[in-house]
Each structure stands twice: as structure tokens, then as C-alpha cells.
Amino acid sequence: MIRVVLPPHLRGLARISGEVQLDITGAATQRAVVDALEAQYPMLRGTIRDHITQQRRPFLRFFACEEDLSHESPDAPLPDAVVSGKEPLLIIGAIAGG
């Protein structure tokens, strides 16, 4: 069970509160987590990564275990603490005005 914390705007869009818990089959990577998130909450498609390019949106960042994972390969394994559910994967909107 992987825990994901979404920014407030996306929690509102998906009409959820608190953390999201996802079952991932196969390797636990950023791509697998976002795939599972979009499958469970289709209204989030296009909001975390671009619809067409599938690239992470520039003002969104992935953090876990006090480290910025945003520039890791989307297919790199997530930290063990995230895979075990001890720590959440944080999807964060960058502080950029507004």
C-alpha cells in the first residue's frame, strides 16, 4: 500500500480528503503511482503530467523522505519507506506566486 498526499487543489478536484492509498502491482515507481492514481481518479488525468507529453507539469514536484525526487527517472524505484507505506509520496505545488 503506497500513501500519496495530493495538493489541496487536486484533492478538491477528486473530491477526497486526506491521503490516497494505492495498491501498485509490479515495480513501485513514480510512473506506476501516477498511473494508479489516474485510474482510481480519472478526473486527475492531465493535472499532474501533461495529457499529451506525459511529462510532469513544471510547477509540480515529487517529494518523499525529505528528498526531492522530481528529477528522478519516472521509472526509478521509489524509496523503500514509500513502498512499505511508512512514508507518503508528497505531490506538491511549487511556491510560485499567486
Binding site: H9, L10, A39, P42, L44, R45, T47, H51, R57
Partner: protein
């Protein structure tokens, strides 16, 4: 009893303002989609309960929302709340937010780049939906004007979108370049007498017309003069801000250009300036009285360098002669220390017996006039910056 519903898009959410036909007491609901930019909301003439909204964010991209109950509840088309995820192989959901440019082998080849600020060619990149224009007859058909400039259409209630690529592909597309606000298709006008005819406007490319329901297009900018481009009478490159028409006379269009208020009597084949005695002819909004085809409204703004009213006085100007002769409408509007702007989609008229006129400001006020502009009062005065105002006249 008849009434009105005013749909307001702001920098931080949407608001729905409702009143009876007297238009003196208002109910305010919102913010809907709090924290998001609502570029535009518009209701269907064919079904007033159907409203489309463009919800967007520099962080999270583009969302299309739809209401089927007059703005009380909203959902992303094709993805109702609580519905289970699609089965494998089923039509994917979330497609209502997907605006994919046509890159097909047949029509996509000439559509790959446009001119950028540096004069070089730049790929088209979707950023947001500026304007949603529901069909005049079918609630499930709606057009979207997007940045980078292109026209999309949905025929399934905004569940999915397809580009009308003849616009970008008609020949001048590679010469289009962005204005200061981006390269956006911000105006879509449907001809009520001719379902084959569509007008659009793009900053900073100009106005275009289709006579075959969006399949093919041509520029309609003859007569526009823009001093800041190398060829002031070029076929494209003009910064058109807004176009409006009266339904009874769809060959007559009024335009607020970057500078200049213009008029055409032949559906855009040629334009003449009708700025007349306006104190400044820069501005964004323009609209036409619901019952008087020659009565036109603008809000003059000082200049492109100073986006606020002249002398700190917020004045709507009305022409009852189809342009050239303009009168200032000031009753109820601030006449000192007012330095707001009125953006291109932020004016609308209702169709009650005495035409109502509405506009919103970047200072968060929405003003209403229930007497065709003779007097004004704020409905609300402390919203986030207003991006768009539309009104529905209800039975």
C-alpha cells in the same frame, strides 16, 4: 417571473449571481472551484441549465466543467463524481480535459509551428481554454478557443474534443505570433442566421471567418490598421480584442481592436473605423444592445501601457448610431480614483424588455445596469479579479 443568471469567472473561482427581472436584489453563490482561474463560463441557449466552464491553473493545467442544473452542481463531462474507474478497453475518462492538436498525416503537416517572440518558428503548445461557445441549437455541441491559438469542437457535451484544424492550416498559421497575453483564440461568434458561418478572433493574428461550419477559413482583416506592425495593412498580425454582433443583423459586426473601434457591414470583408468621439479608442470589451442593433457599448481604457480608465473615471460609452457618436454613461460608476481594467470577455447583455448590461473589473466589481446603461450599481464589489462575465435570461 423572468430572471437573470450572471456567470462570473475570476482569478480565484467562479460565482453565479441571480436575480428576478427587476435586477435589484441579487443572490450570490460561490466561489465554485475556489483557488482556480475560471477563464470563461457560458450557458447554452438551447438548454439554460447546461453551462460550460473553463477551469485552469498554471500548476495543474486545464479542466472542463459542466453543470446540468444551472450552476448548482458541476462535474467533469464523462467523469461524474463517484463513478467507478473505466474498465480496461473502455473509453478512457478524463478526456474532457484533453486538447490534442491535429497532427494527422493528412492535415497535420503544415500545422506544426507558428512564429514566436524571437521571430523563429515555435511548436504549437496547448496552454488553456480562453473561451467556450455553446452551439445556438444543440446543448451537447460546444466550441473552445484555446491558447496556443486553435479552435476545438465537442459534439458530446464536452466529453471529448476535436480540433477544427482548417483554421491553423489555411495558410497564414505559421505567421501568427503571440500578443502580450499569449497567442490565444479568445472570441467565437456563431451566426444565428447561418449555421455554416463562424467568426473567431486571435491575438495577435486577427479575425477569421468560416462559411462551411469550421472546415475552411480565411482572414477577414481588410481595413484594420495597426501601426506597430511592419505592414500596417497586413492580412494578419492585427491584435483584435473582441467582436460582437446583433442576432438580427449578423453581417454587421463591431470590433474592439487593440486600438480602434471598428465596424463591418459585410461580415468582415472590409472594416471601417467608428471610434468617432471616444476619449481613447483602446479597450477590450464591446457588446451590442439586445433589442437595438445600432446600440453598442465599449469601456475605453487609457492605453496599452496603462490598463485603466482615463483620468481615474470608470465610464461606459454607448453609441446609438452604430458607432462614431458616443455618449459617456457614468451614473453609479466611480468617477475618481478608479484604476481597474475591464477584460475582453467581461461584458454581457441580457434580453429582458429593458436590456440589462453587465461588466466586471479586475478590481473585483461586477456592475449591472437594468436600464440599458443609463444607470449602474454594483452587484458585488470585492470578488477576485474578474476575467469573464456572461448572462443568461431565464424564463
Amino acid at each position: 417571473m423572468s430572471g437573470v443568471r450572471v456567470l462570473v469567472g475570476t482569478r480565484k473561482g467562479a460565482f453565479v449571481l441571480t436575480s428576478d427581472g427587476k435586477r435589484t436584489k441579487w443572490d450570490v453563490s460561490g466561489p465554485h472551484f475556489a483557488g482556480w482561474e475560471l477563464y470563461h463560463l457560458k450557458g447554452s441557449l438551447a438548454d439554460p441549465n447546461r453551462i460550460y466552464a473553463s477551469q485552469t491553473s498554471g500548476w495543474f493545467g486545464q479542466i472542463i466543467q459542466r453543470s446540468d442544473d444551472g450552476g448548482k452542481t458541476w462535474h467533469q463531462p464523462g467523469t461524474p463524481p463517484g463513478e467507478p474507474a473505466p474498465a480496461p478497453g473502455a473509453m478512457p475518462k478524463g478526456d474532457s480535459n484533453k486538447f490534442a492538436y491535429d497532427t494527422s498525416e493528412k492535415t497535420g503537416k503544415p500545422l506544426t509551428t507558428h512564429q514566436f517572440y524571437d521571430g523563429k518558428q515555435h511548436p504549437w503548445e496547448f496552454k488553456r481554454v480562453w473561451h467556450l461557445e455553446p452551439s445556438l441549437t444543440d446543448p451537447d455541441t460546444v466550441y473552445a478557443g484555446v491558447e496556443d491559438a486553435a479552435l476545438f469542437r465537442s459534439t458530446d457535451g464536452a466529453k471529448s474534443w476535436h480540433e477544427l484544424s482548417g483554421l491553423r492550416g489555411h495558410g497564414t498559421g505559421p505567421k501568427w505570433q503571440p500578443g502580450a497575453g499569449g497567442m490565444c483564440l479568445h472570441t467565437i461568434v456563431l451566426d444565428p442566421g447561418n449555421p455554416q458561418r463562424i467568426f473567431v478572433a486571435i491575438s495577435a493574428a486577427g479575425a477569421f471567418r468560416s462559411d462551411d461550419a469550421g472546415k475552411t477559413w480565411r482572414p477577414i482583416n481588410r481595413g484594420l490598421k495597426s501601426q506597430y506592425i511592419p505592414d500596417p495593412e497586413a492580412e494578419i498580425g492585427h491584435c483584435v480584442h473582441r467582436i460582437a454582433l446583433h442576432p438580427s443583423r449578423p453581417n454587421v459586426l463591431f470590433m474592439q481592436k487593440h486600438w480602434d473601434v471598428m465596424r463591418t457591414d459585410n461580415a468582415g470583408d472590409s472594416w471601417t473605423e467608428v471610434s468617432g468621439n471616444l476619449p481613447t479608442d483602446f479597450g477590450f470589451v464591446i457588446d451590442v444592445h439586445a433589442h437595438e442593433p445600432d446600440t453598442v457599448y465599449v469601456v475605453p481604457i487609457k492605453s496599452d501601457g496603462e490598463h485603466f480608465p482615463l483620468d481615474g473615471k470608470l465610464r461606459v460609452y454607448r453609441s446609438r448610431t452604430g458607432g462614431n457618436e458616443w455618449e459617456a454613461l457614468v451614473k453609479g460608476l466611480p468617477q475618481s480614483d478608479c484604476y481597474v481594467n475591464v477584460l475582453r470577455d467581461a461584458m454581457a447583455v441580457d434580453s429582458l424588455d429593458k436590456c440589462g448590461v453587465y461588466f466586471g473589473t479586475t478590481g473585483g466589481q461586477v456592475y449591472a445596469s437594468a436600464d440599458a446603461g443609463d444607470s449602474w450599481a454594483p452587484i458585488v464589489r470585492d470578488l477576485p479579479a474578474v476575467l469573464s462575465v456572461e448572462v443568461q435570461t431565464l424564463p
